[in-house]
Amino acid sequence: MRTRKVLFLPAAAVFGFLFVWGLSGLPAFGDYRGPYGIVLAQVAVSERHATEVVGATTFDYRGFDTMGEEYILFAAVLGLVILLRQLREEREDEEEQQSDYDQRLEASDTLRVLGIGLVGPLILLGIYVVAHGHVTPGGGFQGGVILAAALMVVYLAGRYLAMKRVRPVPLVELAESGGAAGFVLVGVGGMIAGSAFLYNFLPLGEPGTLLSAGMIPLLNISVGLEVTAAFVLLISEFLDQQFVKGRDET
């Protein structure tokens, strides 16, 4: 540890100095006038009928990046599923005979009522955020996490079994893959329409309304689906870990 610090601290000092030195060549904070963002801010509303320029950039001008990002998420979730399932399968072999281990974790009635009251509004909020990604701040990424949180509340309010009924694993996996594939398929749609991959081939509609900006809402929905499924999978994989092992805690 000591030698490591001796190595690291001077190196970090030099690195920090260089970093600061380089950054001092930037325009002062607040004076940025780069052409890319200015052009996009000028044309996004008129050309894409999307009032949310960040959304238009994410899903249209630089939509190809977002496809890559979506697949990073996809790959990370697949990797985690592999990692944690192996742990769990070994456990299940050992503890197959114990099937009632989830009985213990029942929530109190108050918590349950509170939770159920929360689920509805959370789901509505999530759907709203996903659907309005091209109009107001938000979109598939943020809304997807909110929707996943709503499903987690179902778990918190009830029991694991309830949760299991709400999210049958194959269905969630299907949703995750569907979300990922959906993005690519919308991209292919642009090719079929006679232009390039991810060409915005749908009617643009009236700016500021729900049905506008062409394919952007569609991409938001597929990302929303992917993110919801991904986070439900992630968190429930971690939760499953708890349950399988939870039995021998007491």
Binding site: A56, I72, L87, P137
Partner: protein
């Protein structure tokens, strides 16, 4: 004063690295990695900021209003969500490390030496 955002970004990068280097717990190490990551967010958003400009959303502002750079925001917003899933993957590796190696202290792992 106008250098403060950049200084904060550099600081977060360095302190996060320091945490990784000195960490004695893999979960701690992973959280330090997210601190380094947040440095890149602060850096990108600070670069694209325009003094006195609005957020790049024309839902209720007139079309000619100056807005901050939308591109850096687009780059950052996806990365925030994706970064969390990457951390989840690393947390999964940590669980496996506890299971297979019996420890989550990087000082005690060292199977792959030489």
């Amino acid at each position: 004063m106008s250098f403060l955002p950049y200084a904060a970004a550099v600081w977060l990068f360095l302190i996060g690295l320091y945490g990784i280097v000195t960490s004695r717990h893999l979960v701690h190490l992973i959280v330090c990695l997210t601190v380094v990551q947040s440095s890149t967010y602060v850096l990108l958003l600070a670069i694209g900021y325009r003094a006195g400009a609005e957020a790049p959303i024309f839902a209720d502002i007139p079309p000619e209003t100056p807005v901050v750079d939308p591109v850096v925001q687009a780059l950052t917003l996806t990365d925030v969500v994706v970064g969390a899933t990457v951390s989840a993957l690393l947390l999964g590796l940590t669980l496996q490390a506890q299971k297979r190696l019996g420890t989550v202290n990087p000082d005690e792992i060292g199977v792959l030496k030489g």
